[in-house]
Symmetry: D2
Subunit: 305 residues, 4 copies
């Protein structure tokens, strides 16, 4: 396994130079485009890593899976899916148009911004800061730390430049889909996006999803099986932005990416995977990370499809 990881890592490093680091906020623009880390956690809880697998980055859209798992755990499936659908959409992740035109008038799924903001608004807590802290404790619990950190600069910077997300959130308010205030929901959302983790962390969460909720590192249940399945199903249909269909063909496993450069994947009964490579392709997915997952899938026959 170590060899496979190393080979995939080595073969994928050149792909990093084909991508570019996210630059919509300064805090992300400073990332090292040549960085590449790959980590895996297997069904026995063994951890494998290579390259920059311990470098921290903000998880961004990957947090949408974690907040979904968290809110499903706290409030149940119905609380989420009475307000958000489960279907994929061909629209961009930050589209607002379907909220206006679709019959159901609810976001298509929790992995697009509109759906994720609804989920954020449901988190328990007294105020955005409290909600954000509880969420970080929850995620910390998954990866074996009391709490995961937040990148304060990224959080503040995204909070400041989020006109499109504000537009979406006010539309959700109009539709009656938000719990509480608009700015509060957005604040929670920006907090969760700015959570800072590394590839090994992602591989640990990926392994919990892969094992239908059992944490193979500690050998105990970390999440309801149904919650893990909902997360993986959404990841396979809409986890990789506009490249979800192509990723399903080429790699064939449930995965979720973020513009911070991370990708988390879950191979049923076998592996959790985490990759980090901040140079992104034109769809916002880690260029090096995609290459590494493709190589690993081929070498280890990881495809579930």
């Amino acid at each position: 396994m170590n060899d496979a990881l190393t080979r995939a890592w080595r073969a994928s490093r050149p792909a990093c130079s084909g991508g570019t680091v996210a630059s919509y906020i300064p805090a992300l623009a400073g990332a090292d485009p040549s960085a590449l880390g790959v980590a895996a956690v297997d069904a026995e809880g063994r951890v494998y890593e290579v390259g920059d697998a311990r470098r921290r980055f903000t998880i961004q859209s990957i947090s949408k899976v974690l907040s979904l798992a968290y809110v499903m755990t706290e409030l149940g499936e119905e609380a989420v899916f009475s307000r958000v659908g489960k279907e994929p959409t061909g629209d961009p992740f930050n589209s607002i148009i379907r909220l206006e035109t679709s019959a159901g008038r609810k976001p298509f799924n929790p992995l697009i911004n509109a759906g994720a903001i609804v989920v954020s608004s449901l988190m328990p807590g007294d105020c955005p800061a409290d909600k954000g802290e509880r969420f970080r404790s929850y995620v910390g619990g998954l990866v074996g730390r009391p709490v995961v950190e937040r990148d304060e600069e990224v959080y503040l910077s995204e909070k400041e430049t989020a006109a499109r997300n504000r537009s979406i959130a006010w539309f959700l308010k109009e539709l009656g889909l938000l719990e509480g205030g608009v700015e509060d929901a957005l604040d929670v959302y920006f907090r969760q996006c700015a959570v800072s983790m590394d590839a090994v962390d992602l591989a640990r969460v990926g392994a919990i999803l892969a094992m239908d909720g059992i944490d193979p590192v500690r050998g105990s249940r970390a999440m309801a099986a149904r919650t893990a399945r909902v997360c993986k199903s959404l990841m396979v249909t809409c986890g990789m932005y506009d490249g979800s269909g192509e990723f399903a063909v080429d790699v064939g496993v449930p995965a979720k990416s973020g513009v911070g450069g991370g990708i988390m994947a879950a191979v049923r009964d076998r592996l959790g995977l985490g990759v980090y490579g901040p140079a992104l392709d034109e769809r916002g997915n880690s260029a090096g990370g995609l290459a590494a997952l493709r190589a690993l899938s081929d070498e280890l026959d990881l495809r579930v499809l």
Copy 2:
């Protein structure tokens, strides 16, 4: 396995009464709403069946997977995917709107009508009749018969009442995506939709997809591995109409349904499944078939996600 199938079949029969038979053409409206058949083919090529698994029905949208496999086999992946995308869409299967508004101006994927009509237009042959015949030979080859039949009444009837599909096809023509004439492409499309198979047939094709192209019944390659993977990936993201996301959560395997009442599923390395139950739910998926697949997935732990 026989027991599992029988239990699932028995448990799912009541679900049939919650659905209604397709009635947009008379030839479909006559189906027996209480019919339910379930078939499976395992990795050793053993065939299991229960109920109405040998009753023939028109495969309708399931043909979209078969025509995709056929055209990929004949012309290669690029020939198809230069004209059609691989991404899921939140639009209805018969929507035309994205052809007008999406940047790429090509159908989102080969499993919506627009994409499937493009694929049909690519089939080799001298004329629609010849193309349709060759397609039926190809499918026959997959299921161990010289040729599969076509339901003439359904074919003629759909050909007559297809205003929406004609509108889509002319739009595709305008976009330069159709090979040859519009009526010819539609004729081929109606021919493929009216192909008549049974649940055992579907299970056999499902098994070939499950085994990445190896036919477990004959023990030889029936399809390129890549072709099988492309089909399964599209099935998991968009095989069950507007219920694809929910099906991925509840059942968790690649599957494709048709309004004739069939569903074909493929469980990697393990099973091909075919079900028949013409009573449809409000999304156009077999009500009894869905119930049977859900029951089987739970009992045999078929989920790949």
Copy 3:
């Protein structure tokens, strides 16, 4: 003329009972649904009035014409129309969808909410309060008072319940179309909508538009001819919400309505008209006011089309 007005008023009073008062905010819901006032100012500056022509109401969307005239006067045509189009749209007045999908990515015209908010953001002044005050002075100047009033309750109430408009405004911000802050632009917009006038006031402004900028009451120029023409052109193509086309057929003069119950119309070289009737039809236009304008157009042959 007095007779014509009285006859139209009398004939239209029953139409009021076919409409319902706007109820999205309490301050509007209290209006008297049977109220109906009609006023006219002719080319010699003579004022005619009947019924509730001196009852004040908030001008709401009629303010979109006044703010357009004001900003064109202060900053010129280019300042507005580099950010907003001049074309009608079949979308509802509060639609956001075209901002996402239209090629130009700017609001279709200044009489839909999105366009009007852009215009509001352009008003000169130090802060929303100052901008609002200057605007009221400008309108006061048109109707012969130092300033027109603002209905404080309506202003505060709309400011509080404006999720949809906030969504639109943040989208405009994202597109780079707003001068200054989003909440400031909205504040100005809510202030202008809550300006309080009566039917005679509207007739006076209508007369200025009718005379291509000359105020027939005072015999002096009140507005550039080009500004008046731009306003009238937009009124004829999109002044009456989704009923603009039908109004052009039935009445045939440029007009602008508001959900406060007012309608302002301008008949070239002949008349300005103002009506008030808070009972609205299903499109948001004054039911009694429409009837009165239809009757007057027939009786006085006001059609310009």
Copy 4:
């Protein structure tokens, strides 16, 4: 008047060189881009002309006004407007998207292709040829000839290359909005578009519209007043494609253009105008014709808005 026409013609000739002749079919591509003709018919029925006012061209979209008048005359207003709306739309003339998404599911108005095809399908007659002939007799009656001609080459050529219009027509069929067969409706539509007239003819029809149905040349009623008004209202809100709003601002009279290079305008109680100049601007309106109408409107103060 002759002097005004000549001055406008002379001033507008350079504008022709800023446009390009329609080239989607060969029969149009051969037109002389420098041709420019202007004609007017006044309230006394006097005819004025300058330049290429007697050169024939196909009226294309201008026929949409004539077929509307014809079908309203034959079948009444309700027969048309139960199937087509009266509202302007911000969509391109050949858009299909609103048929799928708009609540009413009927074309916005008779001047976009979808609406015009519905109107064509309503024409009385035994077959397309008969319907086309009757229509040409009707138009001939308006301009003082037994019949107007049809350009056979243009007709056949458009009939052959009309994928987009076929797509629209099949969608209309699906919505139940077409009388009779799809190809028949299209055949009638292509026949009417290929009707061949000159600028003087257009001025004569424009004059009838201007006089609310009275033909000033013969001094007798040629059309119901209501029919003329409906036509003019639609012309002012949507007669000039995506430039309708701007035209209303700049010229301020109801007008309808066609890609053959013609524009027909109607100035209430004063004038009918016809212009011909096949060099088109980027919106498909005659470049020289627009310039001429702008110049005439300024010089003769034709604005009705």
